[in-house]
Structure formats: structure tokens, C-alpha cells
């Protein structure tokens, strides 16, 4: 199916997310859509798949203008979207998920649906168990299920939003093969990403968005030079290559020390952890989703007590003391979901500083506002001391969260510190974290983005299937080797060498 948009405009308040966009996507091809955060990619995809409605302009499927009132309309017209985290029902089995609210008349019976599913899975090369519950599957497997569901429900156009975030390299390869197959069968695939390599590998055409507009107007055929695409995406400054500064070796005392830790969390069973995390280092945790990084971070933050063994912070045994004690010992935890468990949306920055005051019966508002003003200046946060945190943008929220780290902190645990941020914001955040590292903090972060890990870590720890590898100095690691390791290739050898 051939789809096009004409003069499509969508505003959110004063922000024009899509500004008179005109572009078309031919059938039987894979189309890359590139752009930095906030460029308007997601808005365009949501418009195409009916999640939101345009203010102006129109959407045309096979030369027929369409009004999409919801994702159901879009799917009925043949457009299906796979969200970053698949919009499925975790408590259901694969088959139930397929049958749930399927268009009438598509599956005559459970058995028919199962046959169709298995047939399609064979064709696309996806292994699938129709009776498995989705919450037992990995993100990658759920994505496969979602793709098959949309195809079986009649999708002629498949939109994938950052599909390779959080899936294994092997799954990514399988996904690409399947997408090529889908395109070869005459369907249209829209592949939204900010990873140039993937787009270069997979796509027939590329559309670059910047500030809500297509630059230059219209689609480009692939391949294109990488530097050119970077300039299109970010402007001139965007092309600057990442900087890596090797650190002088320091013999610092460990901030954390794990002794003979055994810990169980859900299906994961971490055994015999013996690690020292020195001050003045940035340590990246690489691994597939649910390989143990989360458990390790929670263990180091004191949110999870080990079944056996000891956790020491600055030489003090804090085993089982609880998150509050860890925090008092200088451990700061920055969750990925800022508004969910990072900060309190309805309170202002000044309120947050007031919360950090540790003594006195009454709140010292003047001091809190002073600190907030200081932080706003230091961290270039676009806010006033009394603006509710919820009304700040993601980048400003993340900066505020960093600003709230007390100067006494000696260990920072950051979960996906730049999640959802554009490149400029991400760089600003990292320069702050690096400054902290230079002040003698130990910073441990996890990220699904291997580039980020390669770019900012001093040492990398690979987690694979609940096993925690030894720290590898960044200088000894290449991107391809890291990708292999998180997929398990050579992981055993690595652990054995460390022994």
C-alpha cells in the first residue's frame, strides 16, 4: 500500500511538532525515518497510525484521503504500528493476545488463529509458542508477536518505532530478515530510528525530519553518506564525532564492595558476586534487558537485600540496611522513569530542595529557594524555583534530578540517564556526570544504547543471563566485541580469564 501525507500539521500548545509535512512512502519498500529527539518522528507516526489527529493537511492511502479517528481506523485501513514497548496484554498468552479484539471474521476459531500464526511465524522465521504468556517473553519476542498480530489483522503498512532498543543483536538480525521478507511480499515498512547504521543496513529510502519538517524536502534514496545524514539531523554541530578521554589510572578505594553475594529476583539468580567499584570511575552496565543490570543497581542502591553475602559502602557493612541507609552513606540512585519514581511532579524545584533539608522542625523556604535558583543557574534549567517539576521538559527534569544530588554523594547509580533525551541534552547531562566523576564519585549506569556505553564508560561490565562479568577497561573493547558479549558470545571465556 502506498501512503502519503500532504501539508500535515500538528501542534501541541505553542509547539509545532509537524509543520506542513509532505512526504510519501511507496509500497514494497522499507523506509527509514531519521531525526533527533523532538524532530517530529513520533508525531508523524502517531498521525499515520491514528493515535492522534492532524490539525491541518491530510493523509492519503493508495491515493484515497483518509480520516483516522483512532488506531482501529488505521488498522482497518491497513496501517499498523509496533510501539517501542509492544502494546500487548502481558497477562495474556500469545494466542489470546492475537484473538483479543481482532477484526471480526478474521479468525473463525482458536484453532484457525493458531494455524495462521504458526504458518506466518514459519515464513518470517520467528520461533513462537502460542500458549506462552507474554510477560514470560523478552521484549524482542513480544515485538515479534506484535508484528505477526498486525500482519494477521491485515496490516499492509507496518510502522516500527525504534524497534531495536532493548532487543538482542540476534533478534535484531532476525527482525531485519523478517522485515525484508515483509517488504518483498509487497507491504510497506516504516522504520523509525536514530541509529544511522541500522537505517543504512536495512532501508531502501530515508526521510530525515528536523524541527517538524522534512529536510531536504522529500525522500532520499539509500545509501547516503553518514556525515551528510548527521548534518541533516543535527545541523553542522551534529557531525562532531564523540570524544573519548582516557583517564589516568588511579588507585582509589572502592565506593562499593560486594562480598560473596547471592541474590534472587524473579527468574534471575545471581551467585557469588565479588566486585569492587572504585571511586573516580564511570562504569557502564551493558546487557540485554533483564540480564541482571537492574538487579545489580537495586542491590547497590540498597533497594534489594541479598540472600547471602555482604554489601559494603565506603567500607561500612550496610547489608540489609535499606535504601535510606545507603542514601545516607552517599549513594544516589537516578531511576530511568523520572516522573514515576525520580521526582514529585506536583512539587517545585524549591520544594525538592526543601525536602532534602535534613534538620530543623520547620522548612527553611528561603534557603530552599536560594538553592533552587543556584541550581537553575548552574545546570541551565529552564524553570523558576516554584515551577512544578511536571511542567518541565524531559531534559530539564533530568538536569533538575542531577542538581538535586547532594555534594556529599560518593556513588551515583543511573538507570538509562539519557533516556528520551535529544543529543544536546544528553551531552549536557554527561558533562555533568563526568564532572562528578572527576570530583571522585563512582558512577554506575545502565543503558540499552551500546553507543552510549562505549562513549562514556571508563569500564564496562557485561551482564548476560543473570551473570555479571568482570569490569573491562573501555580501551580494550570495541563496539562489535561488546555487541557479541551481550549476546553471550565469548562471555564464558571472559569470566574464566577474570578468574
Amino acid at each position: 500500500m502506498h501512503i502519503a501525507v500532504e501539508h500535515l500539521t500538528k501542534r501541541f500548545g505553542s509547539v509545532c511538532a509537524n509543520d506542513r509535512l509532505t512526504v510519501s512512502f511507496a509500497a514494497g519498500q522499507i523506509h527509514g525515518v531519521l531525526g533527533e529527539n523532538g524532530a517530529g518522528k513520533s508525531t508523524l507516526m502517531k498521525l499515520l497510525s491514528g493515535y492522534i489527529q492532524p490539525d491541518e493537511g491530510r493523509i492519503v492511502f493508495n491515493d484515497m484521503p483518509r480520516r483516522l479517528r483512532g488506531p482501529g481506523d488505521a488498522l482497518a485501513a491497513g496501517v499498523g504500528m509496533v510501539q517501542q514497548e509492544p502494546l500487548d496484554i502481558p497477562a495474556f498468552t500469545v494466542l489470546e493476545n492475537l484473538l483479543c479484539a481482532a477484526p471480526p471474521g478474521i479468525f473463525r476459531s482458536r484453532r484457525a488463529a493458531q494455524t495462521a500464526l504458526l504458518e506466518l511465524a514459519g515464513r518470517l522465521g520467528f520461533p513462537v509458542d502460542p500458549a506462552a504468556r507474554l510477560d514470560q517473553l523478552t521484549i524482542g519476542q513480544r515485538q515479534q508477536v506484535e508484528i505477526m498480530r498486525l500482519l494477521l489483522c491485515g496490516a499492509q503498512v507496518l510502522i516500527l518505532d525504534e524497534p531495536t532498543t532493548g532487543i538482542t543483536a540476534a533478534q535484531a538480525r532476525a527482525l531485519f530478515a523478517a522485515l525484508r521478507q515483509i517488504a518483498a511480499e509487497g507491504r510497506t515498512v516504516l522504520f523509525v530510528s536514530h541509529k544511522l547504521e541500522e537505517v543504512a543496513e536495512l532501508c531502501h529510502t530515508v526521510t530525515v525530519l528536523r524541527n517538524g519538517q522534512v529536510v531536504p524536502p522529500g525522500q532520499l534514496p539509500m545509501p547516503q553518506p553518514q556525515e551528510y545524514l548527521l548534518v541533516l539531523m543535527f545541523g553542522e554541530s551534529g557531525a562532531a564525532p564523540p570524544i573519548y578521554r582516557p583517564l589516568p589510572a588511579i588507585d582509589a578505594p572502592p565506593v562499593w564492595e560486594l562480598r560473596n553475594i547471592t541474590v534472587r529476583s524473579g527468574a534471575l539468580h545471581l551467585v557469588e558476586l565479588n566486585h569492587r567499584f572504585p571511586a573516580g570511575r564511570i562504569i557502564g552496565l551493558a546487557g540485554l534487558d533483564g540480564s541482571g543490570q537492574q538487579v545489580l543497581l537495586r542491590l547497590l542502591a540498597g533497594q534489594q537485600a541479598p540472600d547471602r553475602g555482604q554489601v559494603l559502602v565506603n567500607g561500612r557493612d550496610l547489608t540489609g540496611a535499606g535504601a535510606l541507609a545507603f542514601r545516607q552513606a552517599g549513594v544516589e540512585y537516578l531511576p530511568a522513569d523520572r516522573l514515576h519514581d525520580g521526582m514529585i511532579g506536583a512539587l517545585s524545584l524549591a520544594d525538592h530542595f526543601a525536602l532534602l533539608q535534613r534538620d530543623g522542625l520547620l522548612v527553611d523556604r528561603r534557603r530552599a529557594e536560594e538553592l533552587a535558583r543556584q541550581a537553575i543557574a548552574d545546570y541551565q534549567i529552564k524553570a523558576t524555583p516554584v515551577t512544578p517539576i511536571a511542567s518541565l521538559s524531559g531534559g530539564n527534569q533530568q538536569r533538575a534530578m542531577l542538581a538535586l544530588i547532594p555534594p556529599t554523594a560518593c556513588g551515583i547509580l543511573a538507570e538509562q540517564p539519557t533516556r528520551g533525551l535529544d543529543v544536546a541534552s544528553a551531552r549536557a547531562i554527561w558533562s555533568r556526570l563526568q564532572a562528578r566523576r572527576d570530583d571522585g564519585c563512582c558512577i554506575i549506569f545502565s543503558s540499552p544504547d551500546l553507543d552510549e556505553i562505549m562513549e562514556y564508560s571508563d569500564e564496562v561490565i557485561v551482564c548476560f543471563a543473570g551473570r555479571i562479568g568482570p569490569p573491562i577497561p573501555r580501551a580494550l573493547l570495541s563496539a562489535s566485541r561488546l555487541a557479541e558479549l551481550i549476546g553471550g558470545v565469548g562471555f564464558d571465556a571472559l569470566v574464566n580469564v577474570a578468574r
Partner: protein, 340 residues
């Protein structure tokens, strides 16, 4: 610009509309009985102010009501629906009886103090049990609270019919009356014990101050808005939640003690008299803003007292006061819906 003006208009018209809607519903109900709604409203709205006796009855109802509502505004700030407030009041009343029955000969002042302390402790214990069920056993505070309410009323019933029963019969009218000199002193022949409203007003002032000015209050609000984030910022979230429950339990327990020493002068099975649930309505309507608690508690107490005259004068049921109270809160909730 336009939306600003819209919001201003909305902020003014919505409460009025809510009020109109609540009265419309109540009027419909009144019309169905065939009596004059105006006459009924005159009694319900102003009946409590018609004689000194009724006024004093209203104040004696408003005092425990305000105490409960003040306590609940703390738990609301902490993000908890403390439906267990009835049980906490009952537990407080039972606990308050203990010193009074053990040492009836001690000086009254000392006994009242002891009784208040004991009542507050009873309420706290009952509230903390809810906290424990929520914290450790993952039972929502709503159902834990309901369960504890049932348990408390069972306990009160047991005390009245069992160990503390009257000499001659096990009567639901309660235990034997306390000795006269243990009744909280009243003004002349009115049933008004000035200590009760004073305690309630003191509680209101202290809680208002604690919630808005102290670090504890800020932490409680932070926990109420987002416990996970507050915990990350170093607030002992579980502890603060338990503290809000305990604070509410203490105030409800004192309300229960007042019911014993100032109102019923005995333990009766239904010592809480639905005041706790009414307090929930007051707190919901005040939207946990302590400044509104006093006027609303007084208004609700006077509806209840005024409505007693309905069966007497108009031959209709007094439950219409409850209908009016409920409808006011219901439509006030709608009036708060965001302008989208």
C-alpha cells in the same frame, strides 16, 4: 488569554453549579414525599441554630467530626484513604473507658487526661494495624480499614455485652453510665462540654501548622504525591505513611474518648455513630485543605442535628441530611474535574 478567562469563569461557576446540582437532587427526593422542600431546608439548614440546646448538640457533634476530618486530612495528604477511621474511633472509645472503669475514684482531671491518652493510643494501635497490613501484607488500606472497622465494632459489642455489661441485663444501650463527676463538665443545663470543641480546634490548628509549615508536613505531602520518588529523595516513605495513619488514629481515638466522657457517658456499641464516615465526606469536600475543614464540619453537623426535627415536624425521614451531605461532596468532586 481565552483559556485563562475560561478557567476563571469555570473556577467561579463550577462550585455554584455543584451546589445547585446537589440541592436539585435533594429537592427531587423531598418532592417525592409531598412535603414543602423549603420548609424541609429551613429545618435542615437552620434548625440546629434555633435553640441553645440544639446549638449545643450541634457543637458536640461537630467536635468529634472535626477531629476525624482533621485526622483524615493528614492521611489524604499522605495519599491514603483511611476508611478505618470509624474503627479507630471505636478502639479509642474502648481504650478510653479502661482507666475510667479501673480507677473511678481518682481525681477526674487526671482520669480525663489518662483517658484521652489511652483513647489516642487505642486509635493509634488500630491505625497502625492497617498500616502493617498495607505495608507487609499488601492489603489495600481501604479493605484493611473496613476489616478493622468490623473488628472494632465486634470488640465494642463484646465489651458491652460481655465484661462490661450492666448488672441486670446485657443491653445494647451500653455499659452503666459513668459516675456524674467523670462527665466532662458542661455549661449549665446545655449538653455542651466546652472542652470538646476546644480540643478539636486545637487539633485543627496544630495539624494545619504541621502540614503547611513543618518539614514533616512537606515530607508527608511528598509521600502522598509520589511515594517512590519521595523515598528516593531520602524521605522514609513507609514510615511517613504509618505516621499519617497513626496521627489520624490518635485524633479519631480522642474523638472516641469525647464520645464517651462528653456525649454518651458510657460505652455503647455504636459509639462512633458514623461520625468517622461523615468525617471522610468532610475531608473529601475540604479537599484536604485544612482551612475548609471547620466550616464544612460545622455545616454538616448542623444538617445532621437540624434534620432530627424533620420526622417531628414534617413526618419525613431525617436521612435527607445524609443525602444532602453526600450530594454536596459528589457534585463538588465533579466541579473539580479539569477543564480539558
Amino acid at each position: 488569554m481565552r483559556t485563562d478567562r475560561l478557567k476563571l469563569v469555570a473556577s467561579l461557576t463550577r462550585p455554584v453549579l455543584a451546589l445547585v446540582a446537589a440541592f436539585a437532587l435533594t429537592t427531587l427526593a423531598l418532592l417525592s414525599t409531598g412535603v414543602s422542600p423549603l420548609e424541609a431546608y429551613r429545618l435542615v439548614l437552620f434548625g440546629a441554630f434555633s435553640t441553645p440546646v440544639r446549638l449545643s448538640d450541634m457543637i458536640m457533634l461537630a467536635a468529634p467530626l472535626l477531629l476525624c476530618a482533621v485526622g483524615l486530612s493528614i492521611t489524604f495528604a499522605g495519599g491514603l484513604y483511611n476508611l478505618g477511621v470509624e474503627g479507630q474511633m471505636i478502639a479509642g472509645a474502648i481504650a478510653a473507658m479502661v482507666p475510667l472503669r479501673l480507677w473511678p475514684d481518682w481525681p477526674p482531671l487526671l482520669l480525663w487526661l489518662l483517658s484521652g491518652l489511652s483513647g489516642a493510643t487505642g486509635g493509634v494501635v488500630w491505625a497502625l494495624l492497617i498500616g502493617a497490613l498495607r505495608q507487609y501484607a499488601n492489603v489495600s488500606e481501604i479493605f484493611a480499614g473496613l476489616g478493622m472497622n468490623f473488628l472494632a465494632s465486634g470488640l465494642a459489642l463484646y465489651m458491652v455485652l460481655g465484661p462490661w455489661r450492666r448488672q441486670t441485663s446485657a443491653s445494647l444501650s451500653g455499659t452503666d453510665l459513668l459516675p456524674r463527676d467523670l462527665w466532662l463538665p458542661t455549661i449549665d443545663r446545655l449538653r455542651l462540654a466546652p472542652a470538646a470543641p476546644l480540643i478539636a480546634l486545637l487539633a485543627l490548628a496544630v495539624v494545619w501548622w504541621a502540614l503547611t509549615k513543618t518539614r514533616w508536613g512537606l515530607e508527608v505531602r511528598a509521600v502522598g504525591l509520589n511515594p517512590a520518588a519521595a523515598g528516593r529523595l531520602g524521605v522514609a516513605a513507609a514510615r511517613r505513611m504509618a505516621e499519617t495513619l497513626a496521627a489520624c488514629g490518635a485524633l479519631a481515638g480522642i474523638a472516641g474518648m469525647l464520645q464517651v466522657v462528653a456525649v454518651h457517658h458510657a460505652l455503647i456499641p455504636n459509639i462512633s455513630s458514623g461520625i468517622g464516615l461523615l468525617g471522610l465526606l468532610v475531608a473529601l469536600l475540604a479537599r484536604a485543605d485544612p482551612r475548609w475543614l471547620l466550616p464544612i464540619a460545622v455545616a454538616f453537623a448542623s444538617f445532621t442535628v437540624g434534620s432530627i426535627q424533620l420526622p417531628l415536624t414534617l413526618g419525613i425521614d431525617s436521612a435527607i441530611a445524609g443525602v444532602l451531605q453526600g450530594a454536596l461532596v459528589l457534585f463538588a468532586l465533579v466541579a473539580r474535574a479539569r477543564v480539558r
